[in-house]
């Protein structure tokens, strides 16, 4: 069974978001990595890139397909997970920890509240499967 940590927020496009002060950390959910299969490459955004909510700012490539990763909230990319360059399998192994993708400094910290809760996201995933 996929895990849905309750301390995180989610997008229906399967990213998770973790708030750390005025920054958010973004990755893809356990459910998403399981559906993708082995991840073989992650194309990360440039540090300092500006993004709007909904922008395609990264790409995750699995053995199966290439999938876009969307910016959950408007802001500026401040850090990317360099470990993914040589170890993309971290996305499969630890999707909520070492497998994170990037961090964004956000201007509107309340925006996180508008994202899906774990419960809402899990219900959405279960509906998708049926």
């Amino acid at each position: 069974m996929a895990e849905f940590p309750t301390e995180l927020r989610y997008l229906k496009s399967h990213e998770w978001v973790k708030q750390e002060g005025d920054m958010v950390v973004v990755g893809i959910s356990d459910h998403a990595q399981d559906a993708l299969g082995d991840v073989v490459y992650v194309e990360l955004p440039e540090v300092a890139a500006e993004c709007q909510a909904g922008d395609e700012i990264a790409v995750v490539e699995s053995v199966k397909a290439a999938s876009d990763i969307y910016a959950p909230i408007a802001g500026t990319v401040v850090e990317v997970n360099a470990m993914l360059e040589d170890s993309p399998e971290l996305v499969n192994e630890k999707p909520y920890a070492d497998g994170w993708f990037f961090k964004i400094r956000i201007s509107d910290s309340a925006a996180v509240e508008g994202l899906l809760t774990a419960e809402q996201y899990q219900a959405l995933c279960e509906a998708e499967e049926h």
């Binding site: 299969g37 490539e61 053995v63 399998e89």
Partner: protein, 359 residues
């Protein structure tokens, strides 16, 4: 719900991720496609390919019929179970399917793709009119491919003496019957191994014994990356009715001289044509089907199959192009990425073997 092979419940109990494959519920992977890929390159793996279509050709005209039906020359093949890979062409030279024939005399044994089953059978029966040859589909079989450097030893450890003797007597690309099983030293991975056609009611117990012998179950996901590394075409991706075998890196399976097979005239007239070539990604990123290919910045074609190669640790592809050069690129999400143009195969027997294409 799709059609199920005799091993469907085995796949489910192993936790396989199942997907529809031309109307069949087939295992894509059992956890990690990449680990399964390495298992075949380094040890031994077993694939359930029971969805593939087995056909027998009964009658005294089998050879004359195959001489007309196929682009490759059945007359060159020894009638001792030797296998022949060939395209089956339309009148205009388009590839209707690729297949393996085992020259087992009367009846000949043929294995065709599952995705093209209906079309193939209708065509084969149409061509058979006027020949003393009946096209008989055999649906009561399971098919297992056991592949990898340790595959043959492990298979021998779980079958009886007669089958061991048969396997030991087989050359590469040869098969034979024993006790209702057809065992052939063929495959779709670029490794040593066997493909076994056996009665479906014996499939589960044989599968169990293979797994007990340490052979790993492998899904169709790894089957695709293994065959791509081996430089083997996938029908529907790398060729179809719209292209000829000459455009599909299959010229070495076409024998034109002195022959009158269906499509031969069209091939004789095709003096200029595109070519199917191999591409190797120089940087990071993954080549995928339908990405555009450029030579000296001019568009020359597109990728037909692309994937991450677990053996090479970088992406590889097959592409149909009108020209090649030392300056080849692929457009990935709007950016040009450098690739090398090579002659497949990429990998054989676990080792990198591709050579840069001369331009």
């Amino acid at each position: 719900m799709g059609k199920k092979t005799p091993l469907f419940e085995k796949h489910e109990s192993l936790g396989a991720k199942m997907a529809d494959f031309s109307g069949w519920d087939m295992p894509i992977h059992y956890g990690s496609q990449i680990e399964e890929h390495h298992a075949v390159r380094q040890g031994a793996g077993v694939f359930d390919v029971s969805h593939m279509t087995v056909v027998e050709l009964h009658g005294t005209d089998g050879m004359a019929y195959l001489d007309r039906l196929l682009a490759n020359d059945i007359g060159r093949v020894k009638n001792s179970g030797q296998a022949m890979y060939s395209a089956m062409l339309s009148e205009t030279g388009g590839v209707l399917d690729d297949l393996i024939v085992y020259a087992t005399g009367d009846p000949y044994l043929v294995v065709v793709n599952c995705a093209t089953r209906g079309k193939d059978l209708a065509w084969m029966r149409q061509v058979a009119e006027g020949y003393e040859c009946e096209v008989v589909e055999r649906t009561e079989f399971a098919i297992l491919a056991i592949q990898g450097p340790c595959a043959i030893e492990k298979v021998k450890s779980v079958v009886g003496e007669e089958k061991v003797a048969l396997i030991e007597g087989l050359k590469v690309f040869q098969g034979g019957w024993c006790d209702g099983w057809f065992i052939a030293r063929t495959g779709y991975t670029g490794e040593q191994g066997v493909e076994i056609i056996l009665p479906e009611d014996q499939a589960v117990s044989f599968w169990d014994s293979l797994l007990e012998a340490g052979i790993r179950p492998i899904g169709l996901g790894a089957r695709d990356t293994l065959r791509l590394e081996a430089g083997m075409n996938l029908y529907g991706n790398d060729m179809d009715e719209s292209v000829t075998p000459l455009e599909s890196y299959m010229a070495n399976t076409v024998v034109l001289e002195g022959r009158d097979f269906i499509g031969a005239d069209a091939l004789r007239k095709q003096t200029e044509h595109d070519e199917l070539v191999g591409l190797v990604m120089l940087g990071k990123g993954i080549l995928r089907a339908h990405y555009p290919v450029f030579s000296n910045d001019a568009p020359v074609g597109e990728i037909t199959s692309g994937a991450f190669s677990p053996t090479l640790g970088k992406s590889i592809a097959l592409a149909r192009v009108s020209a090649t050069s030392s300056n080849m690129t692929v457009g990935i999400r709007g950016k040009m990425q450098a690739v090398e143009c090579v002659n497949p195969p990429f990998v054989r027997n676990g080792k990198q073997v591709y050579k840069l294409r001369k331009t």
